[in-house]
Subunit: 194 residues, 2 copies
DNA sequence: TTGCAATTAGGACGCGCGTCCTATAATCTG
DNA sequence: CAGATTATAGGACGCGCGTCCTAATTGCAA
């Protein structure tokens, strides 16, 4: 098999396992077993565990970037974009209840480990932060756009954390509704005619 | 030295290390080194790592319970109690920026590990949740008291997560201000005369 | 088809972990 | 002071980890 294809399969499996079990608790052998290759072959593609982590973070950044920019490319308004962002909590509700937020839990773990790739995990946060800020700017919130982005980010992180602790159907839905209502209050009618 | 005193020192050290480095990443030897005892002695007091975890969770529950009920015993009003809760983020700002929330990060880690003591960590959340709910009930929010408690809990979790990712002085302060303002809007003037 | 590079397999290594054991030292009891 | 209990020390164990190596197999190019 082509090297790149095997690499992709490894990254896909590691991405899932790092999310479900955490980085430190996922071993080389675990990933290799899921992919169905030997550890020796694994070593041919990734020489250290950190290399896999870097690849997984890159993958996540690429995926999320495509998702976010896809909404913009579809012609969604800033407000619709923000609503789509909030809806992530609804779309991925089952996984979030089971494993938390892929961004937040990864950062939290790497932060505790004082891992060099903490910066990579922060870059994932940055991706969302900057994209959100841009939407708020496009809505006319020049000065406070970044603060609004942080506020929304914090709120989704909190909702994901509590949903993980209390896997209860109603809670996440309620938080989403409240965030949507909050979005109404910050939407500037002057720049959003509809 | 009396057995109970050594035990307490071990729990204190483990509590700190579990917070700063995480449970899985803290070894027996790490804790023993901090306390200044041998691993053999350690084993005399705690036979498994899980036993220490149980003791640490018990300690945290006891501490937090004393803090929360202390505010009530001091004669604080429900609203003042809630404000004190929010102020935890300010009082512990430095640690939160460095290590996140001790409750949330512990739960997140144990959840990923599928650790039996995930339930213990959830009990820590429950302590806050039920205490907060009681304050909201005392403020006259009978039906929606639990939802308000969850909302406030989620918001502090989110603020702690983002403060950890972006150790920036201003952000946490802003979130605290907003939570305090939110507290004003839910405070029922009918039952809170002042 | 032959030969070289790319890919895979699987075992070896050293280390740190949680756990367990036994011998010694300290403390308490009568 | 003698003896029993409590507390401490430190080493031994088996295991799984990340890492590394070498040999076999596959696939492509001349």
């Amino acid at each position: 098999m082509a090297a790149s294809a095997t690499r992709e399969k490894i990254v896909t499996a590691a991405d899932r396992l790092f999310y479900e079990r955490g980085f430190e608790y996922t071993s080389f052998a675990d990933v290799a077993a899921v992919v169905g290759i030997s550890r020796g072959n694994f070593y041919y593609h990734f020489r250290t565990k950190d290399e896999i982590l870097v690849a997984v973070i890159e993958r996540r950044i690429k995926d999320r970037h495509a998702m976010l920019e896809g909404w913009v490319a579809q012609g969604k308004s800033p407000r619709e974009c923000l609503a789509s962002f909030i809806s992530i909590l609804t779309v991925n509700a089952a996984k979030i209840r089971a494993y938390g937020c892929p961004v937040g839990t990864l950062f939290s773990e790497l932060s505790k480990l004082n891992h060099p790739q903490e910066a990579g995990a922060r870059a994932l946060f940055d991706l969302f932060r900057h994209w959100l800020r841009q939407r708020f700017e496009d809505m006319g919130h020049g000065a406070e756009a970044d603060a609004l982005a942080m506020q929304l980010l914090a709120r989704s992180q909190g909702a994901a954390s509590l949903a993980n602790a209390y896997p209860d159907d109603a809670f996440l839905a309620r938080e989403v509704d409240q965030m949507m209502a909050w979005l109404d209050t910050v939407a500037d009618p002057a720049t959003i005619p509809s």
